[in-house]
Subunit: 369 residues, 4 copies
Amino acid sequence: MAGSTFGTLFRMTTWGETHGKGVGVVVDGCPAGLSLCEEDVQKYLNRRKPGQSKYTTKRKEDDQVEILSGVFEGKTTGTPISMAVFNKDQHSKDYSEIKDVYRPGHADYTFDKKYGFRDYRGGGRSSGRETTARVAAGAVAAKVLEELGIEIFAYTKAVGPVQIDSSRFSKEERDKNALYMPDVQAAAQAEAYLQEKMRELDSSGGIVECVITGMPVGIGEPVFDKLSANLGKAILSIGAVKGFEIGDGFAAAQSVGSENNDDFYNHNGKIEKKTNHAGGILGGMSDGSVIIFRAAFKPTPSIAQPQQTVNREGEDTEIVIHGRHDPIIVPRAVVVVETMAAVTVLDLLLQNMGSSLEGVKNFYRSDKK
Amino acid sequence: MAGSTFGTLFRMTTWGETHGKGVGVVVDGCPAGLSLCEEDVQKYLNRRKPGQSKYTTKRKEDDQVEILSGVFEGKTTGTPISMAVFNKDQHSKDYSEIKDVYRPGHADYTFDKKYGFRDYRGGGRSSGRETTARVAAGAVAAKVLEELGIEIFAYTKAVGPVQIDSSRFSKEERDKNALYMPDVQAAAQAEAYLQEKMRELDSSGGIVECVITGMPVGIGEPVFDKLSANLGKAILSIGAVKGFEIGDGFAAAQSVGSENNDDFYNHNGKIEKKTNHAGGILGGMSDGSVIIFRAAFKPTPSIAQPQQTVNREGEDTEIVIHGRHDPIIVPRAVVVVETMAAVTVLDLLLQNMGSSLEGVKNFYRSDKK
Amino acid sequence: MAGSTFGTLFRMTTWGETHGKGVGVVVDGCPAGLSLCEEDVQKYLNRRKPGQSKYTTKRKEDDQVEILSGVFEGKTTGTPISMAVFNKDQHSKDYSEIKDVYRPGHADYTFDKKYGFRDYRGGGRSSGRETTARVAAGAVAAKVLEELGIEIFAYTKAVGPVQIDSSRFSKEERDKNALYMPDVQAAAQAEAYLQEKMRELDSSGGIVECVITGMPVGIGEPVFDKLSANLGKAILSIGAVKGFEIGDGFAAAQSVGSENNDDFYNHNGKIEKKTNHAGGILGGMSDGSVIIFRAAFKPTPSIAQPQQTVNREGEDTEIVIHGRHDPIIVPRAVVVVETMAAVTVLDLLLQNMGSSLEGVKNFYRSDKK
Amino acid sequence: MAGSTFGTLFRMTTWGETHGKGVGVVVDGCPAGLSLCEEDVQKYLNRRKPGQSKYTTKRKEDDQVEILSGVFEGKTTGTPISMAVFNKDQHSKDYSEIKDVYRPGHADYTFDKKYGFRDYRGGGRSSGRETTARVAAGAVAAKVLEELGIEIFAYTKAVGPVQIDSSRFSKEERDKNALYMPDVQAAAQAEAYLQEKMRELDSSGGIVECVITGMPVGIGEPVFDKLSANLGKAILSIGAVKGFEIGDGFAAAQSVGSENNDDFYNHNGKIEKKTNHAGGILGGMSDGSVIIFRAAFKPTPSIAQPQQTVNREGEDTEIVIHGRHDPIIVPRAVVVVETMAAVTVLDLLLQNMGSSLEGVKNFYRSDKK
């Protein structure tokens, strides 16, 4: 499997390179009858779009999505939803500086070795632009989940060493600052940190956190297709992600059982957990608590400092990457994390419908009426 | 997909519950012609077996594997390799204490909600015993990789707050101590820490680290089936894992591009990287460096202290879990991490064979001779 | 994919060779809460078992199934159901006559070429014995379907030139004669024909027909996973099947639209078709009519006459196959067709549950109560 | 799985409805380095295009393909190849006659029942126009196969009762007549037959036959993913196909073993079969002989005669389908059969590369050089 498809029942297949005709996605398995228009998708794409602030590349892209199939009279028909973002200008640019030279931290070398050659215009298929297609698919998944009362909300948790403070957490604040941080004070500190890095011709890593609310209990399959495992794969498939953790994550490795176990209790007639070290997943299945996970992003590899590297012939050389690049990947990746989670959750939620015979019988009984 | 199958070309399907007739696995897609006997698999299972030391449950299990199909005259035939570990004694035990009560940190509650009821004998399908089957499959994958010069080596990196020191790292030491730590001094400290936790009727978390050497460049598919994403899913599908990171992982989030980028250079005529912050994967594909990743395990949820919880009716109650349980999951999980990685790597390696037309043509040309 | 797995949501993985330790199957994705015991499966296996009549090989096999996992207190738990039929006696037999010689009509040659060598004891993995595992899995699927009011009924339609006459069709008769023909008169003629072939040291082909009743409308996915396409794959994956047709099948190729179209009409308030040339499938989806399809089986390739062939070195030679072989595959294949259809239908039925947003919302609403 | 994806390693995902913005396909897993331009694909599409003769609908479509991704400097890059055929004019037409009425022989009724409503413009997703996307994908597969010396050639074998005569078979003739029959005399008779049907406002069924030459031995997996089973699924997934047979097919059911078995012999140092009743497949794997299979197509369901049916409310009514429709599906389906076969064969051929350890070792040895 060349691996451009993700999901089993709700399934997306992406295509496109950064400097080609465009990027797109085919969403297969979306339930029929969902109200869907381009604006529903566009509002997600706008959060990923370049040129939003001084912390994102200035490359002017409208990133206007077109729905090419699968929607009729404003509703999904159950057939594949094809969406594309076509590139407005494909003006030929000079790529000679990276054509034969391997940029550190990029996929240039591995691409060449795997396929024998590569599309050397920008990152080709490995460019962050590929995530545009994922966001479009995830926007559809998120809309289905919304109908079921499930909300997925991601944000920038850390920019380099600057972390948000949970006591100052404000959902509304997230969309008010350029860094998508839900903490106005941390956002200001992070901006200062980033400007310093930009002056140093350097870049910064960071962390995205994501919370999922409204989940039914039991979503996720107990062995290999655990909700946690599938979320992990989804998030680790985003280009610059180097780490993934759920609930207490790596901190749990330093904890003890009596601390880390979340006691159950009867909360107004409902079974709940007193704490949530588990991050909302027990045995790979959603446990009804809020699901919370984090992704670690490495610093943008494209920096303006000269770097040592080799060319295709294996000769030592120096590279200077021109052009304006995001000093940090995280702010624009927030919506990518959110939508990848949406696809994963919806896919497992649909798979879960056949879990018990009683559920299947009820479904077909009601269906026959 | 009920999710008991993992892999695309090299594919394992596991079955079995902790207190049933046994556990097993069907391995499909193993190349024909590999020398394979039960001892090849058994030596991996022995590393996971209970009763090895005072840090593992005393439950006496021989965990003797039987190969039921797919091997003829000592070699794999290309057909499914079915392997099983049958339980010797299925003496009926008293499970009344956990039958109707949800153990904190376990999958009892989510299982009940998903399926309507559960096999309440031990953890049923969610027990760590299920990993026996994975280890058997992974032993086969590891043997194939060995033939290709690829070695996967995992070990305990941390027990609670006690970490190994890389300056004292010794591969041989790993198999000499009860905790599978490759650092004799850290192992001693960790044992002391664990004994303290055992006295406190508590348990500890920890970290497993894994290195892969000898990888060809270009293994892994650039978008969703990145080597990092598939390794992440494989490892996060192990019961108690709450975090996964590759290369610098979460530390990369606090780094800067000029530090985190690994410069390429010509090393005696071969393209190599001066550093390995990336952990051997660029753009989702192996880059020829050593692959290195870590998994965070939560503390064993079964502890002997009384815990607050609810029963199936949702009434508050207290539970005391009897029996001897591992005070830490990590040592026995080392081989699970190693073998899950083996399955993942072999699967992507087989998928990679069709990457370039030149490779496909060469294959069928040589095949025809 | 080495191809020993079938199905997406309801999924079986088979293993085992004819003269190895046994054959078995892992069924993953069976809804929890189904009453299931070994007898439920055994009664299907008994219909496939050798030694039932003079038209089946005398090889004495008990074919006793064991359920190894996935059932607890008489009900499926939602976890994989592992089933095995172990061989009682694996007495070493002399296979020298077929070890280095390719039997015409068998997979000996292709196996050798694909894998480099083969398990030469009987047909190895390509033996009809592999279907034992499918029947066990299909028995489970059939039981789920029964709960939904769906019945699958297959029978021998033709033995060589002898066909059943629909005017004499009797469901009860099927299980009364050795050939599983639902027409007592045709069965007698067919027996006479077979005895003639046996005297001539020859074998016969035949046709199995299968009808499915009680299907909801809309099962099957409109493009590649049409119900007809998946049934076709299921049936064509049975060793000796050379043809598959649905409804009028090949006869439709000689028909005209005004004849072949099935008019809809209001039948007591229900939409029905006046005729059923389509065989119950329109646009790849079940249309509420009876589903009817047929499979053509080639004659048993193992015949007692001397045959011309080559050995592994490619030298011309003659082969005489000893031992008693079924003079026709069809009677024992009836239950294989029936159960492969059951697996296919159940798998698509589970996939169908996510087709419309309304259905998904209703499911999770009722689930939450 | 909503079933718009076909294949495992070479994999296509189609999208689009007949009267929407267009149809398209994403091809994932195509080996890198294949020369590919739009003309390579277009020449296949032209064979499927309407308006070629009086036996195809006059709907003027240019069916001009655009390659949107995956090709760089004239060669495939190993990344997804997205192709689309955009509709030139989407002029709004009056569909009121079929909006609320179910056309006999079409998927209108089943679509409505499955999804709750449907895109009533033409056949929507179930229209033959969807096959445009398959042909584009198959053209790519065919080009890869060509590089490996494998050729797939399909043609019209029968139009209603008129069959080609093998003694008059001429490959060149196929592309010279409007019906794609490789027999000039049969083509003339078939044209006469079709004109009669057209005068009667009726339509005809027919048969497509397909031969594959140059196949290596051993392609196809022995159990569920037999080459025959996967070809069967591929072909039966084409809208109007009601039957599939390989080699002697249904005739084999009336044959005897001594006739039907194909003896092996040494033919100038090569192992070959004296006859080919098997159609080139033994045990589900290619046996080195020519592969030959047939597909039965039902008559075009859209006929100009008035037909009895019901509307959405289930009331009896009459329908008259206006517009010009193909009196037979077969001629334009020839290339669909050919390209679906190409996708199937290439997919299994890529999967086969991992069959033996020796092959895998050789691959990675040569790869490292």
